[in-house]
């Protein structure tokens, strides 16, 4: 087990290093000169050179990349004299646009993204698996057809259309919810819940529909297995057969997908956060791309990659607990 874990972690580090390298290469080598953008309207070539020096853009690629990696693990210093700023590890640099520490920007915004992700995940697991199970058990009935019809429809509505339609109906017309904003839990649990409800629903809809169809298919497959017939033949009650024998094998694939989906969401729900004006990591990613703010784009990419890679390892570990066939000795 320890050897397996060590191997996985080494692989994880390698993947993250490659992600770093390629993102750095793409954003720092292939994009136009950010110094020109910062220099602004009344600009001179000398000023551009000065800005490039301050940002460290005049250094060769490899030494820039080395400094970035060193900063990530050991921190680094920016500026000099009274202007000296120490950027402690993990140092992701400073935003070209706002001069703010990128790490602090992420730490500020992560709670919003986590709130969105956790709330949506709870919703889509409940709704998706619930609907899937019901459909499987009532296979072929109008329950099944209605639910699966809804799932197909729900999966085909784009996020932003659903978001704006819900907002128009619930907020503008019926006035039963406030306009969404990143309200802190401490500002009042009710307002907090109301403010996040629409983002949760919007984000959960697509996933719930997908999970419902997956759950249904898996459960139907499992129900047709020989061991299920045996279980029923032994005289086990339908509820017990379902719970003890059908759900576990049927839901293991769902665990895998859920782990990855959830991990990816922690890296920011770009569209939902932007549409609802939630100041999360996804909104930050969208803004940084619009402004070509390379250190921020770099950091968000790295963060999302880390979540996905770590999420994968966690899923594999959980899997070994759920499915004895893949257990590591």
């Amino acid at each position: 087990m320890a050897r397996y874990l060590a191997g996985r972690i080494a692989g994880l580090a390698l993947i993250l290093f490659m992600v770093c390298l390629f993102t750095y290469l793409i954003f720092f080598q292939l994009s136009p000169d950010p110094a020109v953008m910062i220099c602004g309207k009344t600009c001179t070539p000398e000023r551009i050179v000065q800005i490039r020096t301050i940002l460290g853009l005049d250094e060769p690629f490899l030494s820039q990349f080395r400094d970035f990696l060193v900063g990530l693990f050991a921190g680094r210093d920016y500026g000099s004299g009274a202007n000296l700023i120490h950027c402690p590890a993990p140092c992701l640099g400073y935003s070209f646009q706002t001069s703010q520490s990128v790490w602090e920007m992420i730490v500020d915004r992560l709670p919003v993204s986590a709130t969105v992700a956790v709330g949506a995940a709870v919703l889509w697991l409940l709704a998706g698996i619930g609907a899937g199970l019901l459909s499987a058990v009532k296979e072929g009935t109008w329950w099944d057809r209605t639910l699966m019809g809804l799932a197909l429809g729900g999966a085909s509505i784009p996020n932003y259309v659903l978001a704006l339609s819900l907002q128009y109906v619930l907020v503008v017309h019926l006035q039963i919810l406030p306009f969404p904003s990143a309200v802190a839990f401490s500002d009042g649990p009710v307002l907090w819940f109301q403010s996040y409800l629409m983002p949760w629903v919007v984000l959960a809809t697509g996933y719930a529909c997908l999970y419902a169809r997956l759950t249904r298919a898996n459960v139907i497959d499992t129900l047709a297995e020989n061991f299920m017939r045996t279980a029923r033949a032994k005289g086990l009650s339908p509820v017990l057969t379902m719970r003890r024998h059908a759900l576990r094998p049927a839901l293991t694939p769902i665990t895998t997908i859920f782990g990855m989906d959830f991990a990816a969401l922690l890296g920011g729900a770009l569209i939902t956060e932007t549409v609802f004006g939630l100041n999360g990591v996804g909104k930050m990613a969208a803004d940084s791309i619009a402004k070509n703010d390379q250190p921020v784009i770099m950091a968000v990419t790295l963060l999302a990659a880390t979540f996905v890679v770590v999420g994968n390892v966690v899923v594999d570990l959980v899997y070994t607990g759920l499915d004895p066939r893949v257990r590591i000795r």
Partner: protein, 557 residues
Amino acid sequence: MRRSAVIAAGAALSALALTACGGASTPASGTGATGPATTGGTVHYLLSSDYSHLDPVRGWDGGVNNFYRLIYRGLTTFGAGPGKEGTKIVPDLATTTGTATDDNKTWTFTLKDDIFFEDGTPITSEAMKFGVARAWDPEAGIGSPYARLLIDAPKSYKGPYVSGDLDTIETPDPKTIVFHLKKPFADFASALAQPNFVPFPKGTGAANAFDAKPIASGPYKVESYQRGASLKLVRNPHWKAATDTVRAAKPDRFQITFGLDGATIDERMLAGQGADANAIAGAIQAATVARIQAPQFKARTLSTYMGCTTYMSFNTTKKPLGDVRVRQAINHAINKDTVVAGDGGTALATRATSIQPPTIVGRVDYDPYPTDLAKARQLLEEAGLADGFDLTLDVRPVPRQQGMAVAIQEALKPLKVNVKINNIDTSTFYEVIATPAQQHDAALTGWCPDWSSGATFLPPLFDGRNIYDKGNQNLAQINDKAVNERIDEIAEMTDVDAANAAYAELDKQIMELAPIVPLLYEKNVTVIGDNIAGAYLSDAYSGGIDLVSVGLKTPGK
């Protein structure tokens, strides 16, 4: 104002907006005030993006400059009022707009009494000098360049944190400050209204401290600031209203919310539920223009020029465009009315004919190239291009830009000029077109002046000695000896009014060379809350609501 400010201003209207359908008419209420504001209450301000910087030597665009006036004061500032009132230069911390000696090369200012920072320490000439010297800091000084451009300083000077005191600014006593300029500059009082001429206690603000927690000299101070999410201002108890003739500062608090989706802001402003009745916002989306035509929104709609010109710039180094007749022909061929329609209709812009927009002092309205296809054909024939040519036009992939580009494409078809629309992503557009090596035949762009004078409009765009490999703003790359000489002559004029009149003539002189096609003057259209009073749009701040005058009708509501 920075080039990115032009993007910000334009993007506010253009970025996510859909082209408005039909020809929406101009909202009725112009820049007029909405009745007097009463003291007290909280004004809410809904914005889609955060301010670039709270540190005034770093930030520099119409939106943030307007905000700075709430927390900072300078030696001079713009007047508070709609129309021409807003572009007048008035004294702020200084008793007058300055006394010039030595042929406008030395400027002396006396500070008012009873002026304090938010902690109660008096504002001295030493603090003023320290604040101005921060503009030389290589890291911080990314905002307005006018301190560095105008004030004499040793070449090696790198701001107070690195190089210490700036000896060329004199402070003979705590109330007097003397600036020595590099060369005579008659309009120095206007330059001083730029946001980076702001006092700070000596030694403060190193390593971007002011971006998180500024030190206020104006009527409000920052209570809390959450980057990208919210900014709360409360009264600065040490600001004395008697010393300030510009800022009404009626509300007790400002609560600014950032990061809201543009369409959501419009929905909230139109719905005006709850606290949104006390809210103001930026420009509405083009798609919302049709909706505000409903009668109930008339009284809540403000509209004025943003003070910028949107134009198509030719790259005169490219083959047929080096010929002035070809550029003139295209000027004659483009029907500006269809370009305005492509941009979203007359509610959002009016057709442009001169380089300088109507808000510029001394600007003359004239039309050197009225739409005339026959004339255009004749000019092209003379240039030997009766069979037309290909022209690549650089644009941003946003609906309003696309609408204008298509209008231009259609307008040039009869001349057999085949316009190829080349989309460049908004995030890198200005970097690309400011690099002559990457520029194509023409580009759709715009310019906003730093103050309402030709001085910050014509020389930056058409001085042939300012053509750079990178960060180039003379997109046409026009280098005309007569124009360059005229620019120098006007810069030396000691009478500001005469200089502005001369810029109006220079505008005509440049348009004879047709380096650009002026397309439209964009308008700022905004909706205010039901309980908002004292709101008008300021010509000095890209047509944004003047924050120093806005307040509430009934604060308790």
